[in-house]
């Protein structure tokens, strides 16, 4: 299992559009993905779960990826989150 911490950079935070982009990646792979914020941990393949985190700008998000393709999943998710989900 790999783990990595991110800071949400885009203005609107982890709202519906970014969450949709996120689950699109996690659902394409077999690795289990979990996202945690302030002690709340949710399944990274569930869009409603991710939205309950209400991770706004500057909040800290921990990703846990576990499975045979964990490396590639983590790389793709890192790119997505670090790019601010393609938003400002």
């Amino acid at each position: 299992m790999i783990e990595k911490t991110f800071i949400i950079k885009n203005k609107l935070g982890l709202h519906a559009r970014p969450a949709a982009l996120l689950v699109r990646i996690t659902n394409q792979h077999v690795a289990d993905v979990y996202l945690a914020r302030d002690g709340n941990k949710v399944n990274g393949k569930s869009i409603m779960g991710i939205l309950t985190l209400a991770a706004g700008r500057d909040s800290e998000l921990v990703l846990y990826v576990d499975g045979e393709d964990e490396e590639i999943v983590m790389r793709k998710l890192s790119e997505l989150i670090e790019s601010g989900f393609g938003e400002e």
Binding site: G13, H15, A20, L51
Partner: protein
């Protein structure tokens, strides 16, 4: 060839326009090539620039009394140039009596002169309506059109995906069939699409294993409609594990027909997914959007508001 024949005007309804042919019977096969109606006032005065000769020409008492003020020579000359243009026909309103030159020239040039007993205010809107309908752009599409809560839902997708089966289930739940298999689509008023079925197969469906069934006989009058405005397109397709489906409802997909965009959703089909229920809810959601409530958008705005509120709180605490 496009356009409609002058003969079609006489044949419409039980001579609905109350027309009598006065002259020019040889031209009854002439074509009306544009939906407008022209009152050739300027042409009667001799001005023929940009004369719209592709549409029908309407003369009323006003035009005829103007003609009577002209000298016989001028009258013949001006009528000659109008009737010499490739106009489809002339219609006289309110039982007006034409000058004899008009009938004579029209007969010679094979331009039908029709007289209606209806007045302009009655005849013109009726003619407009009739002509507009004949000239509406139309197309036909392989689909099923059902009416769900007043929203016309067009089901599209490749043959065998289950469009008809899905529609049948919706009908047995109390919704209405408009057309199965071949849906004729017409552009109305240049901005919305009206769908209906071909007359021959109207209200019939073909269900694999059952054959052809008559929906209005099986389910009664409540189960059918003759036409419906297309409000939503639902594209059915095989479930594709590789494809990303809309998970939020913020993506706005459209389906374009005759230059009009209709909201579209793509629904993947897979055993265990009750497609009819999904489509029923999609139609309801579309109704809600039309009424001004967009579930996905409102939800996202609430979420963003929540996140910003929380951030402000944290900053205030830090600031203290």
């Amino acid at each position: 060839m496009s356009g409609i024949k002058v003969d079609d005007l006489l044949a419409k309804g039980d001579n609905e326009f109350e027309l009598t042919l006065l002259a020019g019977d040889a031209g009854l096969q002439n074509r009306i090539l544009a939906p407008g109606i022209n009152r050739p006032g300027l042409a009667l005065a001799g001005y023929m620039e940009n004369f719209p000769c592709d549409r029908l020409q309407l003369l009323g008492k006003r035009e005829l009394s103007y003609l009577s003020t002209l000298s016989a020579k001028k009258r013949r000359e001006h009528l000659g140039s109008i009737l010499g243009s490739p106009i489809p026909c002339i219609i006289l309103i309110s039982d007006a009596s034409p000058p004899s030159e008009l009938l004579k020239i029209a007969q010679k040039k094979a331009v039908p002169v029709l007289r209606s007993s209806l007045g302009g205010s009655m005849l013109i809107p009726q003619l407009h309506d009739f002509l507009e309908k004949q000239f509406e752009p139309r197309t036909s599409i392989h689909a099923v059109l059902v009416d769900l809560y007043g929203v016309g839902v067009l089901l599209i997708g490749k043959s065998g995906i289950g469009k008809s089966e899905c529609a049948l289930e919706l009908i047995s739940r109390g919704h209405r069939l408009v057309a199965d298999d071949v849906v004729d689509i017409k552009l109305k008023a240049g901005k919305y699409l009206m769908g209906n079925g071909a007359e021959l197969i109207r209200h019939h469906m073909e269900i694999r294993g059952l054959g052809v069934i008559n929906i209005s006989k099986l389910f009664g009058a409540r189960a059918v409609r003759n036409q419906e405005r297309v409000g939503l397109v639902v594209q059915l397709e095989d479930w594709d594990a590789e494809k990303a489906y809309d998970r939020i409802g913020l993506m706005e997909e459209n389906y374009e027909m005759l230059g009009v965009k209709v909201p579209m959703i793509t629904v993947p089909v897979k055993p265990g997914r009750n497609i009819s229920t999904i489509i029923e809810v999609a139609a309801l959601n579309q109704r809600l959007i039309r009424m001004g409530y967009h579930s996905a958008r409102e939800f996202n705005e609430r979420l963003i508001g929540w996140m910003q509120e929380e951030k402000k709180l944290i900053e205030e605490i830090k600031g203290d």
